[in-house]
């Protein structure tokens, strides 16, 4: 199943797009200081952060409070990061997580 990282219209929006820039799958995304990664992605109209290890299905932020583990992504090379609990930083590299977390050496 293909992932849509280009929104067909922002569903949760705000007038002030923010002063920070980070990247999602290589594309620049703007954020406000204090945003969580999940919030900044949703503000940019991105609703999918990963595919499931079981059925390879797309998932994204659901509970926004660290309970559901659906908003996982690869953040600065580390997989399985709960983006709803992670504050966004300038230059952060966020990638879609495909399936289970990959172990690095």
């Amino acid at each position: 199943m293909s992932l849509t990282s280009v929104p067909d219209g922002s569903m949760l929006a705000r007038p002030d797009i923010g002063t920070l820039t980070f990247s999602f799958d290589g594309a620049p995304v703007r954020a406000r200081p204090g945003d969580t990664v999940a919030a900044a992605l949703l503000a940019a109209g991105i609703v999918t952060t990963r595919t499931t290890p079981v059925g390879d299905r797309p998932r994204g932020p659901f509970c926004m409070m660290g309970a559901c583990f659906d908003c996982l992504a690869v953040v600065d090379g580390v997989g399985g990061v709960q983006t709803c609990l992670t504050e966004v930083r300038e230059g952060m590299d966020v990638q879609t997580q495909h399936g289970a977390r990959v172990l690095h050496d």
Binding site: M1, A39, T48, P58, F62, G66, F69
Partner: protein
Amino acid sequence: MTDLAIIGAGPAGLSAAIEARRHGLDVLLLDENAAPGGRIWQAIERRTAKDKDDTAAQATVAEFRACGARATFGATVWCIEPDGSVFWSAGGKAEVARAKQVLVATGATERPLPVPGWTLPGVMTAGAAQILLKTSGLVPQGRVWLAGQGPLLLLYAVQALAAGGRLAGVIDLGAAGAQRRALSHLGGALRAPDYLRRGLMWRRKVAKGGVPWIRGRDLRAEGDGRLARIRFTDVHGERTEAADMLLLHDGVMPSVQITRALGCAHRWNTAQRSWAPQTDAWGRTSVANVVVAGDGGGIGGAQAAAISGRIAALGIAATLGRIDDAARDAAASGLWREQAKHLAVRPFLDALFAPLVPAPADDAIVCRCEEITAGRVREAVSLGCLGANQLKAFTRAGMGPCQGRMCSATVCEVIADARGVAVETVEPYRLRFPTKPLTLGELASLHDG
């Protein structure tokens, strides 16, 4: 050794810290979020106060900041040991502190509302949308639907409209007859008329905002790779509506992950259809030196939670010999009276928003992590599966990273229904530490000091 470790910086945890510091206790507070406030007061320090509740919340947070409690934010507690050792991870490093007393103030989580398609990106909870509004100023635009029931659903609609948001509609999935049943508890509710007044005002605001209020059932979310439309049945029959976002809500229930892992005795609350740790008047659980305050001990709302935090701290101060029992009782008597007033509205609210007994369609996923449908659970029961813990062996339901947070309640309901037994006779998933996943690197970092 620390006198008191508090898990959770919501109204209960903050109020407990303030009260404990008044009696000279050394306090360590741990919270997963970046700042104090919990869910209800999230990001309150960064927001402009909109009403007297916000002002009071800001005052409590400011008092906490000045009270001398040590606080670590961004800290995920993953284990508490019987000797009072509390383990947490923050910034990829694990740490441990020992405390004489542990106060669990972990609040509530939203009850799952497992409609078919609820795993699609674009479907979230109403609580999640409220967090996004509070912390990042995100306002719903486009075709955003609310569905379910409960005070938070209504409150979010009001807050979203006030922030200039647009909502496509509210699909009220509440049971017919709930309003009539709630009326028999109106007497109690009138002891704290503020709650009723506010509820009615919220309904009026949503109606005035031109948001359609539709009584519906059999809701489904559909789309290829992300939410595109919703289907439901209303008085006129089946309806399909385009949807960019769907926000689900069916009330909240105590977050019992830590108290269950600690082995605290829990009791079933029939009206709130959920488990909560059994406590005495001071919030003390069946496990020595473990105390509970706030919604984690039963849903009572923010005001009651703050008061219960103070009561718990008084009890702890007496246990540690910082005040005598007479001083404790004198300080608590006024708090109990005030708390009783806030709790008087609960039977009314519990009846009005009686949890929807989930009877998910066979194709609805109940365990989001392992992608187990309600149909698979029913099939397991037909093969002889009797309970939630056995179901793990049949299906792996409840064995993913969320550790059953999203499916325990539903799985027990589906098993109970399929077996024709009362849901409280189906034992929920047994929980063990670590209650949150951690990496071996984090674990190893404990020894680096």
